[in-house]
Subunit: 197 residues, 2 copies
């Protein structure tokens, strides 16, 4: 059945989906009601059309500035730098941070050949150096692995001369872990105990 | 972001998908290219419009009789009864069976309150009793659990008087397992060593 095979192939492209799970998803689509699948197809289009980058923090947003950057009750002088949009959601759930974010969309990886120009690194440096923004503190909330460390060194070197206070998440985040998968309490501890680099 | 939340909710309905995986899928959609997502939405529509039931074996098919039922080189006098369409695919991969199938789309489950009228049970009985079809053998390839056993008893009772030879998969299928997840060799052994009920 070509249509079903095409659908399985499409689901195989989803992150972490193997052949069995893709097959189950395709059969779910066959079993599901017509309106339910029409709605799914519609939402796919809506998301592709409406979701873009926030021009300030580069998180995903539906229109112009994201809800965090446009929130005047938040402290715009503290910028938390994360690798992925999921990390913003995870930190927000810890309810410990009231500043704003900068999403790099990846990490510098000498091993995988990802350079600083392939992530939102220059955008961060420009943002910090911009005299109209001039943040008080930059918190590096990068994943505690080799790529996170490399990115942290790049950012530290680039911002050393700017005089901004650079901090990192406290130990508390277990090594080799993934910020996106951490529980709220651990993230909360790590935010409270952050240390100056 | 409403659009993204709607998409996450839609993906949560997929079988076995939790909140984290649904979020990853939604962010994959945001990251993926526009044409790729347009294609996915199109395939969803195509599958819903084109995939229906084979009127003989009740497997999913794109038009009229499925490829197995319309294959004249297969032995139409041996019908293998399975619970789910995935089971057909798994047995086909074992390359040991050259008959045709009957997909029940579930199992009789006294505990979950699924009766024989909610699955393609009467369709099987009619098919076996139809003098124009008159199969020689019915192989019950049901999952080796309580529901599979209950279904097997129902089918055996209904077909006892018909004189058709009823067989079941050989022991070799581990108890509590799922036919859909079995490897080809085990399925092949089970098919070869099938025993008369």
């Amino acid at each position: 059945m070509k249509a079903l095979d095409d659908l399985i192939t499409a689901f195989r492209r989803f992150p972490g989906v193997g052949p069995k799970q893709a097959e189950r998803f395709a059969l779910y689509v066959v079993r599901a009601s017509g309106p339910e699948i029409d709605r799914l197809a519609d939402i796919l289009h809506i998301v592709k059309e409406s979701v873009g980058y926030c021009p300030e923090c580069w998180n995903y947003t539906e229109k112009g500035l994201c809800s965090i950057c446009s929130d005047s009750t938040r402290d715009h002088s503290v910028i938390c730098v994360v690798e992925h949009p999921q990390d913003v959601a995870a930190i927000e759930k810890s309810k410990t941070f009231n500043g704003i974010y900068h999403v790099l969309h990846g990490a510098v990886s000498p091993l995988s050949g990802v350079s600083s120009s392939q992530i939102k690194f220059n955008e961060l440096i420009e943002r910090v150096r911009n005299p109209q923004i001039k943040p008080r503190e930059i918190i590096l909330a990068l994943n505690p692995d080799a790529d996170g460390e490399a990115t942290s060194i790049y950012i530290t070197n680039a911002l050393k001369s700017s005089g901004v206070k650079l901090t990192r998440l406290a130990c508390g985040v277990p090594l080799g872990g993934d910020i996106d998968y951490m529980d709220e309490v651990t993230l909360s501890c790590a935010l409270r105990g952050r240390t100056v680099i």
